[in-house]
């Protein structure tokens, strides 16, 4: 997916964006590729799955390294426990299922057996959020960021696209302790050029502006850039930050956004309760309170439909984010 990158942000901020009409790649595919790389570079990496290895893309690792791959069957709690046992003996255990089951069914095991002893278990969960699409609310996990970021020792990463997903997964192998990586089923726009460098715990500035800051994560990052484009034509200059690490949050970038822009809008394919919006709000009230709005799920479950349709229906596409941004600008009194 190499293409000529062009610089949008000032050089010292240096995120490299993909070309204007990007291809679409699912972050789960990037996960599968990253695992293959880790299989070569990290002999202690083992991979576990719960009968979804074709969908989570762990299968290729299993074929390449059958002695380091464990398909535990439809038993997510057991998978997390075995991963913890392996990690306690020095392995770096990647455990995968759909986000609903990996975090929902196995929450207690993640807390007790992974986070309490602070072990090297990397939960890379696919099929998160609305973009699961047609499978509907039983499979559209919209609470996972919340229940993972509340856990002591757990780090939470939501890559914006396939380029960042690959680099975040590679980084996760070397981040000590538990890591949660949230991945998508659907092919989504590639935001970054291949040269983009993922920096754990750091927001990346994708577009600068001083009227408001849109802080987005996951699939809404591309939509936030689209929203900023639309707002620009109306004379509203939006800063766009990609907050791919939700825990630990880059509180410095949030404070700078609050001070320099005076209004903050968050966007995420997740419940507003407990997600990025909550995390950013905490950082804002602790540093420099400014008006905030949140684009997310307002305490509702999803429904069947196409992923793009669902994002638009719940106001999480570029048009929806731009509309909420206008409301926020009114509150700001601009």
């Amino acid at each position: 997916m190499a293409r000529a990158p062009h610089m949008i942000a000032p050089p010292d901020q240096a995120p490299l964006l993909a070309s204007a009409s990007p291809q679409k790649v699912a972050t789960r595919n990037a996960y599968g590729e990253a695992l293959l790389e880790l299989g070569q570079s990290h002999p202690d990496v083992v991979v576990l799955d719960a009968d979804l290895s074709g969908s989570t893309k762990t299968k290729a690792f299993g074929k390449a390294h059958p002695d380091r791959f464990f398909n535990i069957g439809v038993a997510e709690a057991n998978m997390i426990g075995i991963a913890a046992g392996l990690a306690s003996q020095g392995k770096v255990a990647f455990a995968s299922s759909f986000a609903m089951f990996a975090t929902g069914k196995a929450f207690e095991q993640i807390r007790q057996s992974v986070c309490v002893p602070d072990l090297n278990v990397k939960i890379c969960a696919t099929h998160a959020g609305l973009t699961v699409g047609e499978d509907g609310k039983s499979h559209q996990m919209l609470e996972d960021v919340s229940i993972m970021r509340v856990l002591p020792n757990m780090k939470v990463i939501v890559p914006a696209d396939a380029v960042e997903a690959r680099k975040a997964v590679l980084a996760a192998a070397d981040i000590p302790g538990p890591v949660y990586v949230r991945l998508s089923r659907a092919a989504t726009p590639v935001v970054f050029a291949d040269e983009y460098e993922f920096r754990f715990g750091k927001a990346s500035l994708l577009r600068d502006g001083r009227d408001l800051a849109i802080i987005a994560t996951g699939v809404t990052v591309a939509a936030a850039l689209g929203a900023a484009e639309a707002l620009e034509s109306e004379g509203i200059h939006a800063r766009v930050l990609n907050m791919s690490t939700i825990d630990p949050l880059d509180a410095g970038a949030v404070e700078a956004a609050a001070r320099e822009c005076g209004a903050i809008l968050t966007a995420e394919e997740h419940q507003e309760n407990g997600g990025l919006g909550d995390a950013v709000a905490q950082a804002v009230v602790r540093s420099f309170p400014v008006p905030m709005e949140m684009c997310g799920m307002h305490g509702a479950f999803g429904q069947s439909g196409k992923g793009d349709e669902l994002l638009a229906h719940y106001g999480l596409d570029a048009a929806g984010i731009a509309a909420t941004a206008r409301t926020l600008m009114q509150r700001k009194g601009a």
Binding site: G73, N78, S88
Partner: protein
Amino acid sequence: MALNDQQRDRIRAAARQTRIDAIRMTNAANSGHPGGPLGMADFMATLFLEHLNLTPENRKAPDRDRFVLGNGHTCAGYYSLLAQKGLVDEDELLRFRKLGSPLQGHPHRNHDIGIDFSTGSLGNSLSVALGMAIAARMNGWPARVYSASSDGESQEGQIWEAATAAAHYGAANLTVLVDFNNIQIDGHMRDVMDVRDLRVKYEAFGWHAVDVDGHDIDAIDAALVAAREETERPSALICHTVLGKGVSFMEDQPGWHGVAPNDDQAREALTELGVEGGELEAMLA
């Protein structure tokens, strides 16, 4: 090879000390679970003295044996045995459950004192022990992984997920010792939710499983020897025990699952365990 008289004496002494410590520790903490440790003392002492390769010298060695206390609430007995093996300072035992002590109310992983994993939530630990066993095999370590469990814990579904997987992976280096005392918090297990014949269940799941009198140290030792000789299947010892064994007023009483003895009860219990005279008064001081 059967136990000789000297080994038998050592195990019996260790089991008695475990019971004494469990009474003293829960009394001093004014909380905790005395009944389980008393019931498990004989098979735990046999395991820790004759089978589990864990010493102060090798405690940080990656290839030593591992132990995971699935029924983590019974940790007073576990901590006593760690102290008897020289891994925990004896003075620390009476700081059990107190602020700042490594002897937490339920075990917390701590390589300095030989605690291999954090437990306390029933059902989780057999999966963890299996992960340890798989890792040992992958690394070519001779380590065996032992886990304690219980009849009450066998009501948790994850136990049977782990049992399925352990047989699937042929984890012959994994042994679980199930404390089958027919007691859980809310009453006798058979009245609350009868798990029935666990030997038959483990066998059906593909394990080498045996019923053992959990107070017969020769039978326990023989079963642990047989488990070590298994080359293809994980092993389950269904250890039939009496909760509160050795203290008549605690035996088979569900109320003693999770209630600490007061000073008078501790005196009576320690007396029944053969502590007397100045030693008794010193313990109760």
